[in-house]
């Protein structure tokens, strides 16, 4: 609204608003760390608005506000060439408030409300470009978001029906009493949240929506909005179900599939944002794995909790950085295909350094924040292996390391293509395009990455407070920089480099003279959306449409049939009568062979009769035509009454 008057004032206003929010939230840490804040406003939506802020939620809120603040600064610059900026900012802020609402809600219905608002407002961010691709992406996003929301709602209905409460803190006790229906309930809820979290096989919207949205929107989409789904799953499995083994195992397996599939598909992509989107999917896999392990480890779950929450924080930070970095390239070149932007960053040391920081963080190189969380998750996995001595966990660990290798490979692909390769088109021009306002968020994020990487225990201290939510008291001292951990990290890097050299360079990169480009063979592969969801949906749609059309027209059809039937009947009668007359005539003829005069008379008689019969039909027809609607309805009325009375008296 303000933006109509003045662009710069609006920008300033937004930055200040998010900045203030950031400050307020940061200051809130002290009181929250002592005691959880609760807020209850009755009468809203029939159930009241029930918000709660404890450390567990605080972490989510803080990271949300932090990333939002930086992307707002970034947006003011990035969007300068876009149209409809006011709309963008309005919905950007609405999305922020609803996201915070999700993290704060204590009542699941409030959470659902905010969740739906967020789906809608973020939809508007995704289709901001309004071109065909954006609409296409937006359609799958919205369709899946609404579908997921309704599945979630179904779960909530059932939950409320069985437990009569939707307050998160009361649910763990109640849900124990309802027996095995809880699996259905939590399954539905997890599917609902899983759509947002990009869980396989509900991830199809994710790689489409990220490239379609403007970069700041993709940054928050990947950094924060995916986390709302994760938050929901975490609440459901970790808190409400108290880490039920069955659910946890399913989440764990899905996590591994996510992790591996995301990484694998990322390697094939050529659009930077799409690579990053698949990378997000893969990282969600790590987090899901962490959530699964929380349940599986039972008493030893502390390490998994640390790992999960830590990775959530880290992923938000470094994926934000990478997206914003990619955004700078897009801002200048308006292209994201690595074939086009090849070698763009060779002469851009600052951007290169930023990107490298982000990449190292994702990979988990010691000294960057990703290392800390990945180590914790790895520890958790080893712990599980240690407890259960199960062959599957060995497989799991292999998948884990392999996925880390894939991560290295696809990031190397971006990095080498964009920042190392030679391209005579780009020699360091466009310097003037990058303003300070854009680089501030990037530098801040890289700073945070390095800081956490060097002092990983600082965050651990904060997460200590979140353990209460999961029913744990004592914290955990973690030693990050041990030889083993570093070795594991380096092993992943080694595998990644091998994959890159052995696979990416060989098969995906075609060279012709000095020209080289990347191909994407996975385009022709089975696409879950195109090959499974759409056809099934279409089939169901067509099938049910046909049936319902038939029902729709049924009354009319029946009436038509009856009319036609009556018509046919009347014709038949006439024919029959004619036939009878003819018979008579024939009989007569037999009798009156000798009497020619008589037979002539009869023929004449028949000739006279038949028009008379036709005339009767004609009169009926005339009568029917002359009956107007009013008469007709009265006529029907009377007919039915007569029939009924007959039935009654019989």
């Amino acid at each position: 609204m303000i933006g109509r008057k003045s662009e710069s004032f609006r920008n300033l206003f937004n930055v200040i608003m998010t900045g203030m929010l950031f400050l307020v939230v940061t200051i809130l840490y002290k009181p929250v760390s002592r005691n959880a804040i609760e807020l209850f406003i009755p009468d809203i939506m029939g159930t009241g608005l029930y918000l709660k802020l404890d450390i567990f939620r605080y972490i989510f809120v803080w990271i949300t506000v932090f990333i939002w603040f930086l992307t707002t600064i970034y947006s003011t610059r990035y969007l300068i060439k876009y149209k409809n900026r006011n709309r963008y900012y309005a919905f950007f802020m609405l999305t922020l408030s609803s996201t915070i609402g999700i993290f704060l809600s204590e009542h699941l219905l409030n959470l659902f409300t905010f969740f739906e608002i967020m789906s809608f407002t973020s939809y508007i961010l995704i289709i901001h470009d309004e071109d065909e691709y954006a609409h296409e992406a937006g359609k799958s996003y919205l369709g899946m978001a609404i579908g997921g929301g309704l599945v979630l709602l179904m779960g909530l209905f059932l939950l409320f029906d069985y437990t009569a409460t939707l307050n998160i803190s009361e649910l763990p006790l109640k849900i124990k009493e309802i027996g095995s229906i809880k699996y259905l309930v939590s399954g539905l809820i997890i599917i609902g949240f899983g759509v947002k979290a990009g869980m396989v096989p509900l991830h199809v919207w994710l790689p489409k929506a990220h490239p379609a949205a403007p970069t700041p929107a993709s940054a928050i989409l990947s950094g924060i909005l995916l986390k709302t789904g994760i938050f929901g799953i975490l609440i459901t499995t970790g808190v409400i179900m108290e880490g039920d083994i069955l659910i946890s195992t399913i989440i764990l397996i899905l996590g591994f599939i996510n992790m591996f599939l995301g990484g694998l598909l990322a390697i094939f992509q050529r659009n930077i944002k799409r690579i990053l989107a698949y990378s997000s999917m893969s990282q969600m896999g790590y987090i899901l794995m962490g959530i699964g392990l929380i349940g599986i480890l039972k008493e030893h779950k502390a390490v998994a909790i640390y790992g999960t929450i830590y990775h959530i924080i880290n992923h938000a930070i470094y994926k934000g950085l990478l997206f914003l970095g990619a955004g700078i390239i897009y801002m200048i070149l308006h292209d994201l295909s690595i074939n086009e932007i090849r070698g763009f960053g060779k002469h851009k040391p600052i951007l290169k350094a930023m990107f490298l920081t982000g990449i190292f963080a994702v990979i988990g190189i010691p000294g960057f924040n990703g290392f800390a969380s990945k180590t914790l998750l790895h520890e958790a996995l080893l712990e599980a292996q240690h407890i259960y001595h199960n062959g599957w966990f060995t497989v799991a660990e292999i998948v884990f390391i392999l996925s880390s290798g894939l991560t290295v490979a696809y990031l190397l692909k971006i990095f080498i293509a964009v920042f190392v390769e030679q391209n005579e088109k780009y020699w360091g021009q466009y310097k003037h395009h990058i303003r300070k306002r854009v680089s501030i968020p990037l530098i801040t994020l890289s700073g945070v990455i390095v800081y956490i990487g060097i002092r990983p225990n600082a965050v651990m201290y904060v997460i200590d407070g979140a353990l209460v939510t999961f029913g744990l008291q004592k914290g955990l001292e973690a030693e990050f920089y041990t030889l083993n951990n570093i070795k594991a990290s380096l092993l992943a890097v080694a595998i990644g480099v091998t994959i890159y050299i052995g696979f990416v360079r060989k098969y995906l990169r075609k060279q012709k003279g000095s020209e080289s480009w990347y191909v994407n063979p996975s385009l022709g592969w089975l696409n879950i959306e195109k090959d499974i969801y759409s056809p099934v949906l279409k089939f169901v749609y067509r099938f049910s449409s046909t049936i319902l059309h038939a029902i729709d027209q049924s009354v009319m059809n029946i009436v038509n049939y009856i009319t036609n039937g009556i018509k046919a009947f009347s014709k038949m009668e006439i024919k029959y009568m004619c036939y009878k007359k003819l018979n008579i005539y024939k009989k007569m003829q037999l009798f009156s062979n000798s009497n020619e005069k008589n037979s002539y008379h009869l023929a004449n008689y028949i000739h006279n009769i038949s028009p008379e019969i036709y005339n009767v039909a004609g009169v009926l027809n005339k009568l029917r035509n002359s009956l107007n609607s009013m008469m007709y309805s009265v006529f029907i009325f009377a007919t039915i009454l007569v029939i009924v009375l007959l039935v009654l008296f019989l």
Binding site: G147, L153, I640
Partner: protein
């Protein structure tokens, strides 16, 4: 003496209607003022009656037990009459400007006011016979409104409307006669008049099914629904009222009356009719929302949407438990408000741009932002997404479904909600995000304020009822506790 005053809100519109048709007004302005005043006076008189008299009853004319015109005001009647008269005021304002381009306003307003009186009459009816009389009158009074434009299409639709309605009325009359043979008392009493031992259960079952289907014609239950999309040729204020309160909701109101005030929930449950009828209702819900997807004409799409939403309300009634009935009644209010908003928006688009089809209205959000915002909010509400009022009623309906141990119903509700999104959101998206470059010199063409203000206010009600449904909820809760 004071009881006669009950008749005032019913008779007054009749007088006003006659006045509109006979008095020669100096110009249109005076006539419009007269119309607005008479609608508002009617509303005030209803409020006054409620405040001063409490629950009253009044026999107008009694021949015997069967032929007895009897008015009684109870909570259910209050509920329905207030809803109708409030929405009538909005529509009156809207119609004054809208009808300018349809022409023949005089005839329109005569029947418009007449219909109000009849609707209030339906609400205040104290027994089945009175209800039936007004119900038939309603058909006759709305018929001229449907065929207002006088085109061939309109006449055909009107014919269809009449035939369906009288067909339904026949079933009702039959049911009434049979019912009279069972029980001579047909007054509306909470929990039903058929209390006690049920002797011939089969007959009761037949009677109930007959009456349900008969009134179901107006409530657009499959397979008696096809008059409703046909009646879309009527001018927008008419279709808005037809859909929101006057006709379809009268059908629903009558069904509530027979289910809970004549038969009573217990007896209906014993007849097992509710199970068979619920199959029909489920088909209604799915058919409405799925066929809405096929419609190109905006008003037709909304009409099919009404069919499916009415199915929700009927489902709430037929499930026969407390939560479901609360949900049904709440959805009756909510759907009325939402659908009238949607129709007003559709009418405003037609009024200002002359566009009827969905494919034509791409980018209309830029020209008419206020209207389309209202449309968007109402659409979201109809899908049932919080924090709008549609979500609250769906919540209760779903709980009712679960209380009746019918998970299938909840699944169908949600499926239909998804379809609702599928047929309404593309309109909003096409209107707001047409893509392409901004066309220069685009001027705002919002409808005139007398049309826009009702739209905006109704949208406000949609959101307000979403945030604070408790006032309506507690009133509905009172009714429901009385009848179950």
């Amino acid at each position: 003496m004071s009881n006669v005053f009950v008749l005032f809100p019913i008779v007054f519109p009749f007088i006003a209607a006659v006045a509109v048709s006979t008095i020669k007004f100096r110009n249109e302005k005076w006539r419009n003022i007269f119309i607005i005043f008479s609608v508002i006076i009617n509303f005030i008189s209803i409020i006054l009656i409620l405040n001063t008299e409490g629950l009253v009853a009044f026999h107008l004319w009694t021949v015997n037990n069967f032929l007895d015109i009897y008015f009684k005001i109870d909570e259910m009647g209050i509920f329905f009459s207030i809803l109708a008269s409030i929405l009538w005021i909005f529509t009156a304002f809207y119609a004054i400007d809208y009808m300018k381009h349809e022409g023949r306003e005089k005839i329109f307003f005569v029947f418009f006011i007449l219909t109000l009186g009849i609707t209030v009459g339906i609400a205040f009816s104290g027994n089945l016979f009175t209800l039936y009389i007004f119900y038939e009158l309603l058909t006759l009074a709305t018929f001229p409104l449907v065929i207002h434009s006088g085109s061939k299409e309109a006449l055909d639709s009107g014919k269809k409307y009449l035939i369906y309605s009288f067909g339904g009325a026949t079933l009702i009359l039959l049911g009434m006669i049979l019912l009279f043979s069972i029980n001579s008392n047909m007054d509306f009493v909470a929990r039903g008049v058929l209390s006690g031992a049920v002797e011939n259960a089969n007959l009761i079952s037949i009677v109930y099914a007959l009456m349900f289907l008969g009134f179901g014609v107006k409530a657009a239950i499959v397979p008696f629904h096809s008059w409703l999309p046909g009646a879309m040729v009527a001018p927008t204020p008419v279709s808005a009222l037809l859909h929101a309160v006057a006709v379809v909701k009268s059908g629903i109101f009558a069904i509530i009356r027979i289910s809970y005030f004549i038969f009573g929930a217990e007896i209906v449950r014993e007849t097992h009719d509710n199970i068979y009828l619920s199959i029909l209702i489920v088909i209604t819900i799915l058919l409405g929302s799925l066929l809405a997807l096929h419609q190109e004409n905006l008003k037709k799409r909304l009409a099919y949407s009404t069919i499916s939403q009415l199915g929700y309300i009927l489902l709430g009634i037929i499930l026969l438990n407390e939560n479901a009935l609360i949900g049904g009644l709440l959805h009756l209010v909510n759907h009325a408000v939402i659908k009238i908003t949607l129709f007003f928006c559709a009418g405003a688009i037609y009024f200002t741009t002359g566009k009827k089809n969905i494919s034509d209205i791409r980018g209309i959000g830029r020209k008419m932002p206020v209207t389309m915002w209202c449309f968007a909010i109402a659409a979201i509400s109809l899908i049932g997404i919080p924090p709008t009022n549609g979500s609250v009623s769906k919540w209760y309906l779903a709980l009712g479904g679960l209380n009746a141990n019918k998970i299938l119903f909840v699944v169908i509700l949600l499926l239909s909600a998804f379809l609702t999104a599928a047929y309404l959101l593309p309109i909003v998206i096409a209107a707001f995000f047409p893509g392409g470059d901004k066309v220069e010199n685009e001027s705002r063409v919002e409808p005139p304020p007398r049309m826009l203000i009702p739209i905006v206010m109704l949208t406000g009600v949609v959101v307000f009822l979403g945030f604070f449904p408790n006032a309506v909820l507690s009133f509905i809760g009172e009714i429901v506790r009385m009848v179950i």
